[in-house]
């Protein structure tokens, strides 16, 4: 809906991709692992292969969890914007159809957090 205002009220959004120097924001949450209080935000180059997220990024972010060492990425069930998503690790983020500010989650069957409490 339009904002009620005394004159024309139009503004540029704060977080467009060009303001991030071409990087696209990607948000990633690990289902059943709420020891990490919220999904993470990352600025990624669009031509980066999806597999680099798994190999070079997520170990630094999720690695402190005791479940992390047991992850088999081939088993991961991904969602994007809440819908099932089947990324190809060899292809770039752009080729995988990922857009600026997309939100991803992954679940690894069998890994349910500390003492199975989704922590």
């Amino acid at each position: 809906m339009a904002v009620k205002a005394v004159k024309e009220y139009v503004f540029a959004p704060m977080d467009t991709q060009e303001k991030l120097h071409g990087a696209q924001l990607t948000y990633i949450g690990w289902i059943d692992h709420l020891m990490f209080c919220a999904p993470f935000a990352f600025p990624f180059p669009p031509d980066m292969p999806f597999g680099a997220i798994l190999e070079a990024v997520l170990p630094g972010s999720f690695g402190q969890h005791p479940d992390f060492a047991q992850i088999d990425w081939s088993q991961a069930e991904w969602t994007k914007g809440g819908r099932p998503f089947h990324p190809d690790p060899a292809k770039s983020l752009a080729e995988n159809g990922m857009r600026h500010k997309d939100s991803l989650t992954f679940r690894i069957p069998g890994l349910t957090g500390i003492k199975g409490t989704s922590s």
């Binding site: 809906m1 339009a2 904002v3 009620k4 205002a5 005394v6 009220y9 139009v10 503004f11 959004p13 704060m14 977080d15 467009t16 303001k19 991030l20 120097h21 990087a23 924001l25 948000y27 949450g29 289902i31 059943d32 709420l34 020891m35 990490f36 209080c37 919220a38 999904p39 993470f40 935000a41 990352f42 600025p43 630094g60 972010s61 402190q64 005791p66 914007g81 809440g82 857009r99 600026h100 500010k101 997309d102 939100s103 957090g113 500390i114 003492k115 409490t117 989704s118 922590s119």
Partner: protein, 526 residues
């Protein structure tokens, strides 16, 4: 008014308080003729609120300015006497524990700047509302809020001499990630029209939610031996009751003036209840985790001040067609989770917070389990025990990756789905080809109603990634550039001192040593 003589030379008696008030709030106003009234009050109609007769405004309290100054001066005298005595007698050494002081750091950085913004907001509204009775009441509240900001600063400045993290609260308020939550809340209100501001701050915050902010902090101060903070709380109390009656009169006046005002006011209540409730996340965590000697649980506070008192209020307003705010039920359901989810967040982002955090002790966890029998052991204890174990192994859990923030409340997306505390609640909106993320139905509704306002949000995480949160001496091209360290420096922290765990902090060691000096002749250890 002074004594005057009439033509016969007999002295007239002084005007009574009631007459003086009537003259001030009615007799002093006039219809402008050199300038059209709509130019003098340019914000009076654009929000769509229809007012037919400002004389129907029932003044919630009848105070003249001279009486106002007199009462406030008396309260100030008492307050500063107590604060001086507390400081001169090393009152801080009577605290239950130095962990308590972190609640004050949260208050000074997060709440005190809002008192100042409330001063500005009520000064603005006190100029822009066309009704003189409302203007005078807003002007007095504006002065109250300035006084509250000042007394809080004075009271807490005593701690700045002795403890870490108190030095740059105003600088931090405009920069630090979690302080964008209270800051954006008030910036949202103050950029709204005068009527929305009255519902946002005057009614929703001052009337519905204020007890949930002040009672926990001020009772927390009393329970933990902080006479200074307790005194500013009591000094503000009679002001707060005036503010509450002003908020209630404002909403009743709008609803009685025209039936078309109802849907506008209802939407504002929905919006501002949820905005205010989200800010209270910080209070919930303070109450359950930061007070060494606990007053009551967040759940108990919510049941008394929201469910009972708020429930009665909305039952009363039902005769105008008002229903309880959207999100009310969810807020009631979340009372079992809110504080635990919030403290877990600050614990893991300790390096980015200017106050100390800790894993709750066994004794504190037993208290939590008693207060939260349905949720603490089941969902939250395993997290804290894991972290205690990691600490014992010398591997404290520090989360070094920035979180996704809600576009509206600006809190990291830490809240779980209604009815499922094992799933993060995700909501998404599209606007002009961009995607926006919100933490709840409440925040999504607010976004979808005024997208053009919230696309301007200064979200700390996105600002960091855009490179806008480094100091002038930071060099991003240097090979050892550490972006997160540069952000913390830009926040104004004393790095490695303010933002470290409580265990081993200067606050902990100093407090222990100073306490020891009060009962022993041995030189202070540590």
């Amino acid at each position: 008014m002074t004594m005057t003589n009439d033509a016969t030379g007999t002295a007239k008696k002084k005007l009574g308080l009631k007459e003086r008030y009537a003259l001030m709030t009615r007799g002093l106003d006039w219809e402008t003729t050199y300038q059209p009234m709509e130019d003098v009050f340019p914000y009076a109609t654009y929000e769509g609120i229809k007012v037919h007769d400002w004389d129907k405004w029932e003044d919630p309290f009848r105070l003249t300015m001279d009486a106002y100054w007199k009462y406030q001066a008396e309260k100030e005298q008492k307050l500063y006497a107590i604060m001086d005595a507390f400081a001169q007698n090393n009152g801080h050494l009577g605290l239950t524990d130095a962990r308590y002081i972190n609640a004050l750091k949260l208050f000074l950085t997060g709440v005190t700047p809002l008192e100042y913004m409330a001063h500005r907001g009520f000064a603005h509204v006190g100029r822009q509302l066309p009704g003189v009775g409302a203007r005078v009441a807003c002007q007095m509240q504006s002065l109250d809020e300035l006084r509250h900001a000042q007394t809080q600063i004075h009271s807490m400045s005593n701690y700045n001499k002795l403890y870490d993290g108190f030095h740059s609260w105003r600088h931090m308020h405009d920069r630090v990630w979690y302080l964008s939550v209270p800051k954006s809340f008030f910036d949202d209100a103050i950029t709204a029209g005068p009527f929305e501001y009255m519902i946002a701050i005057g009614f929703s915050f001052e009337y519905v939610l204020t007890n949930l902010l002040f009672v926990p902090f001020i009772s927390g101060a009393a329970y933990n031996g902080d006479m200074g903070a307790m005194a500013f709380g009591f000094s503000a109390q009679s002001d707060e009751s005036r503010h509450m009656t002003l908020g209630l009169e404002a909403i009743k006046f709008m609803l009685e003036q025209d039936p078309d005002n109802l849907p506008i006011v209802q939407h504002w209540i929905d919006k501002w209840f949820w905005r205010g409730y989200r800010v209270l996340t910080l209070v919930a965590m303070m109450l359950d985790y930061m007070l060494p000697k606990k007053v009551m649980s967040w759940k108990e506070a919510w049941e008394v001040y929201a469910e009972q008192n708020g429930g009665a209020l909305f039952a009363d307003l039902a005769r105008y067609g008002i229903r309880p705010p959207l999100g009310w039920q969810q807020a009631c359901d979340d009372k079992d989770h809110l504080s635990h989810q919030a403290w877990a967040t600050f614990y893991q982002y300790q390096a980015a917070a200017p106050f100390h955090t800790w894993v709750p002790s066994e004794e504190d966890m037993a208290w939590q389990a008693d207060k939260y029998p349905d949720t603490f052991d089941k969902y939250y204890r395993p997290r804290f025990e894991q972290w205690a174990q990691m600490e014992a192994e010398g591997n404290r859990f520090n989360n070094g990756t920035l979180p996704l923030l809600c576009q509206v409340c600006q809190i990291p997306m830490l809240f779980t789905e209604p009815g499922d505390p094992t799933r993060i609640c995700y909501r998404e909106s599209e606007y002009k080809g961009e995607t926006y993320h919100t933490c709840s139905d409440g925040c999504k509704n607010i976004f979808d109603h005024e997208q053009e306002k919230y696309i301007q949000a200064w979200l700390p995480v996105h600002q960091i990634y855009q490179g806008n949160c480094f100091g002038p001496d930071a060099d991003p091209t240097s090979p050892d550039f550490n972006p997160l360290l540069e952000v913390i420096k830009w926040y104004g922290y004393n790095v490695g001192v303010d933002n470290r765990p409580y265990e081993g902090s200067e606050d902990q060691t100093n407090f222990r040593a100073w306490k020891q000096q009060t009962t022993s002749n041995a030189p202070a250890a540590g």
